[in-house]
Amino acid sequence: MLSLKKKAFVRKHSSAIVNPLWLRLMHWLNALAVILLVLSGWRIYDASPFLGFVIPKELTLGGWLAGALQWHFAAMWLLAINGIAYLLCNLLTGRLFKKFFPLSPREVLKDIAAALRGKFISDDLTRYTAMQRTAYLFIIASLVILVLSGLVLWKSVQFPLLREMLGGYEGARRVHFFAMAAVVVFFPIHLLMVALSPRALLLMIRGR
């Protein structure tokens, strides 16, 4: 029998699985779905760019509107089903509360101060820092909003309550766009944080 202390020590030092297989699978499937959806979504936005700028076609996926819509309406299933599975697994295993809470604003500020001094990542890779917790909860919420507003855009007549909550069809269109923008802002920050902690990347690939 390992004592709790020893267990924690072992975890910290590489042998035990930190990220279970389901999490790693879902994380990478989610990344794929998000990338496909964002790139095809940009092409769809370009068909009627309500913010007055267009996104260069070379950066988009699908070639023309119909192609982009096909990618979008295919990848949406991956995002939604994988996302629901991720939330369920996190809730049922209690991982959600263990990993992402408690979350205190003071801790977040402390992390930011530490980051400004050049210290970005905690030494204990099994625990997320307050900054990571905030970033991940923020991105999870953004993805939930993206799926819900997408549902209104796709089936505005069939989901009247959701539609009215999001400000009607035109409101949902804006919500959808700005939730996408939130994801796009998160992405480079996420990659930067990962780049500063290559060990974390290893953990997200092989679990240990």
Binding site: A47, F50, G62, W64, Q70, A74, S156
Partner: protein, 263 residues
């Protein structure tokens, strides 16, 4: 509205010119835009994702996407609640001017003489006689203000009036257990819808816009208006309709736009 090309968004004059030419050609030749999809479905985004994977050829990707689109048709048919109504709006919210949209420019709108017009009815119906506009106007009329949502993303509110399509289908003795209703239009456009949508209370065989005879740019003399479907599913200038069990497809649908295309 049966279209989705744009007010000039592409800044380059060349692209605008090219689009106009394609638009004009579209009237006479159903240009296989599918090829465009084939050529471009893997632009940078796709290439970046799939680079190195020479085993993934464009055809199999396109086929997979098409198969998912067919699957999405089925899901949408399941989600469609025949009694759920699209929102309606007050007169003051009507979009002005209501946008013109077609796969060709304004100067190519078909000119149709009222006296010559007949609506041809064929397929799985008891009464295959053609209808004049006068006869159509004599049927009970309804009027509604709804939002038209275009596949491009924009939407606009308008007021359309005419015959509840379910009334008309019953009047011609259509087989209501059939799967599809197809439409052929004077501008060579064609499309088709599922029977549950055809029978939806807000589906209207449209004769008027804003209380006046349907103007040419909005589909004179006859349009099918469905607030539960995207613009390209709402055919204008209809001259023939038929009830069938074989999916008749559609102008945009055959090029890759989703067939169900509704909300």
């Amino acid at each position: 509205m049966n279209e989705h090309s744009k007010k000039p968004l592409l800044s380059s004059a060349n692209e605008t010119l090219l689009r106009d030419i394609r638009k004009d050609m579209g009237r006479f030749i159903h240009q296989p835009q599918r090829r465009i999809f084939l050529q471009h479905s893997l632009t940078l985004g796709g290439l970046a994702l799939l680079s190195g994977c020479t085993v993934v050829d464009e055809n199999s990707i396109e086929n997979a996407l098409m198969a998912i689109s067919r699957f999405n048709d089925k899901v949408q048919a399941l989600l469609f609640d025949p009694n759920r109504l699209a929102p309606t709006y007050p007169q003051s919210m009507i979009t002005q001017p209501f946008p013109f949209n077609a796969f060709y420019g304004k100067n190519n709108i078909p000119e149709i003489e009222e006296e010559d017009f007949r609506l041809e009815v064929t397929g799985m119906v008891a009464d295959k006689r053609s209808w004049t506009l006068k006869e159509l106007r004599a049927l009970p009329q309804v009027d509604q203000i709804t939002r038209l949502i275009c596949v491009e993303g924009w939407s606009a509110i308008g007021r359309w009036g005419g015959i509840q399509f379910s009334t008309f289908l019953r009047r011609i003795g259509a087989d209501l257990t059939a799967k599809y209703v197809g439409f052929k239009c004077a501008d060579e456009y064609y499309t088709s819808i599922d029977m549950p949508t055809a029978l939806h209370p807000q589906t209207i065989l449209t004769l008027t816009y804003n209380g006046e005879m349907l103007p040419p740019q909005y589909g004179f003399p006859l349009k099918l208006r469905m607030p539960t479907k995207l613009g390209y599913k709402n055919p204008k200038h209809i001259h023939a309709m038929f009830v069938t069990n074989v999916n008749p497809g559609g102008y945009w649908e055959d090029q890759g736009y989703n067939w169900f295309g509704g909300s």
